[in-house]
């Protein structure tokens, strides 16, 4: 049987040096453009060479691919709305997109809703152990590490440590927990996220399992991914070798540890809310929500919100115009609209100028719905959102408040 687990690196020495872990992803993107496998590449690059200012970029010239080389941990950028809003949902061009697990999941959710043409996309998933907000990161480098943030040339998360490399080549490492105690934490949705390897993308790339080598561990997750990598290997752009069982085991252990960590965190954080009495909970949320200045940032940043005619607009009659804080309906409508499909990407909270912990609210509800409907948002493009479908079996269930529709149906 053909394996789908490989170690890969670029055959080009220059790419190897600029990219992380052997530069496999950079090499693959370059190959795809050079051989017209795709019309464009959507990736993240540094603006003004600052590691704290990452911007998405669409590249059609293979000569410019090097701009996107290397990983960025301080770049919580979402690619989804760009594909949907500015690239016509990939209807007219083939695009290779580098994406974090949450990006890949949101793209799949939008594809289900016919907002993105998934066939035209090649999703290059990047393993993600979480991202920092740029502002937090900058402060962390100067205060916790005592270094000039502008001297930073590389950062890595490994074994619960954040390792930074400086301009002069020296490295410094600090424990993530120690940093958290000082108030420098990853985005809270990342800490709760248990999607570390994006198996819903065409390929999932990362350094876990490379046994310290300058190579990228690639898991191929779709026929499209196989086809692509075979072509790249044949062409010689990418050197691939099947992963050994030790490497597979190493990666598995890393993943399990990270996922367990995230699940424990999720449990802890959301249980706090769950253990509140209903009145306390309402008080908690209303105290946060009444800070809302109704900037519509959460709606505009949300990768899943796509209605042209939005219920939040005053002419729809649900939320009166010109009032701040808005009627609580504002948040309830958002909540009910993303409830079953929220991918916990954290964009809403990132953009919120009033720092309302929105992801916690959405995550809280979504976690319950995942359980009830047995539906993992953004994992399988053929599994439709649970509120948009019903099964024939449900015709024969009489209870009006049945909790477990799916298992009863099976």
């Amino acid at each position: 049987m053909k394996t789908n687990l490989y170690l890969a690196w670029s055959s080009d020495r220059k790419i190897q040096e600029t990219g992380n872990s052997g530069g496999a992803v950079t090499a693959l993107l370059k190959f795809a453009l050079e051989h017209k496998k795709v019309d464009a590449v959507l990736a993240v690059k540094k603006r003004n060479n600052s590691r704290f200012d990452a911007v998405p970029t669409l590249i059609t010239d293979p000569g410019l691919i090097h701009e996107t080389a290397g990983t960025l941990h301080f770049a919580p950028v979402s690619m989804v709305k760009i594909v949907k809003n500015y690239l016509d949902g990939a209807r007219n061009m083939k695009i290779a997109v580098t994406c974090k697990p949450c990006d890949a999941r949101a793209i799949i959710e939008l594809a289900k809703r016919k907002q993105i043409q998934l066939e035209n996309l090649f999703l290059i998933g990047l393993n993600c152990s979480g991202t920092f907000l740029p502002t937090v990161a900058e402060q962390m480098i100067s205060e916790a590490y005592g270094e000039n943030p502008q001297d930073l040339v590389k950062e890595e998360v490994d074994n619960g440590k954040l390792i930074i490399t400086l301009k002069d080549g020296s490295t410094r490492e600090k424990d993530l927990e120690e940093l958290a105690q000082k108030g420098f934490e990853m985005r809270e949705n990342c800490l709760r996220c248990s999607y570390k390897i994006p198996r819903m993308a065409d390929i999932a790339c990362g350094k876990w399992g490379n046994s310290g080598k300058e190579a990228t561990f690639i898991e191929i997750c779709s026929p499209k991914g196989h086809e692509f990598l075979d072509a790249a290997a044949e062409n010689g752009a990418l050197v691939m070798e099947a992963a050994t069982s030790e490497q597979i085991e190493e990666r598995k252990q890393e993943e399990t540890a990270a996922v367990e960590n995230a699940q424990a965190r999720e449990q802890k954080e959301l249980d706090v809310l769950k253990n509140y009495s209903p009145d306390e909970r309402l008080k908690f949320w209303s105290s946060h929500l009444q800070r809302c200045i109704k900037c519509f940032g959460c709606r505009d940043a949300c990768p899943l919100c796509y209605c042209k005619d939005c219920y939040l607009e005053p002419y729809r009659g649900c939320v009166a115009g010109g009032e701040t804080p808005p009627d609580i309906m504002f948040q309830l409508i958002r909540l009910s609209h993303v409830a079953d499909s929220c991918v916990n990407c954290g964009q809403c909270q990132d953009v919120c100028p009033m720092e309302i912990p929105l992801t916690r609210l959405y995550n809280c509800l979504n976690r319950e719905l995942v359980r009830i409907f047995d539906y993992q948002p953004g994992v399988d493009v053929n599994q439709y959102p649970p509120l948009t479908i019903v099964t024939d079996q449900e015709l024969f269930i009489d209870a009006p408040d049945i909790i477990n529709i799916t298992s009863a149906a099976e």
Binding site: D279, L282, L332
Partner: protein, 145 residues
């Protein structure tokens, strides 16, 4: 004091089964509390969770939705969609701290006049126990006590 509290209840009824059921309860002179206000829908499948939320934030203490029994929907499966949505909405209410018991879904067929009256009696009783809906005070801008 709590005895004098009369909850306001909004009832969303489906045209084909439950509205007829309510009609039957009426013409049969069955007694049930006068706390409900009825909104007739062609199908419970038309009910957007938004309607429920809007009702609850506008000073209604409870929302009851009644539709055809599963497999008896006039349009096939409208009531099944509703069932899923209500599940979600109940969880949503729980999540923000509103007792999900303020929302109830029931199946009432056109022939079930007595059941309709019973359902309304039960629900009114329950809502009475739950008391004033805290969301209303919130939307009036009075905050939570």
């Amino acid at each position: 004091m709590s005895n004098s509290f009369e909850p306001k209840i909004l009832a969303f009824l489906c045209n084909w089964c439950s509205y007829a059921g309510a009609d039957l309860a009426g013409v049969s002179r069955m007694q049930y509390p006068p706390n409900i206000r009825v909104v007739r829908f062609m199908c419970t499948g038309r009910i957007d969770p938004l309607f429920i939320l809007k009702a609850l934030t506008s000073g209604v203490d409870g929302v009851i939705i009644a539709g055809c029994h599963p497999s008896e929907c006039h349009y096939g499966k409208g009531n099944l969609y509703t069932r899923r949505r209500i599940l979600m909405t109940k969880k949503l209410l729980e999540c923000i701290g509103i007792d999900p018991a303020r929302l109830r879904l029931e199946w009432v067929a056109a022939s079930e006049g007595p059941k309709f009256a019973q359902v309304i009696r039960d629900f009114t009783e329950e809502t009475k126990k739950l008391g004033l809906n805290p969301l209303e005070a919130l939307t009036r801008g009075e905050g939570i006590k």
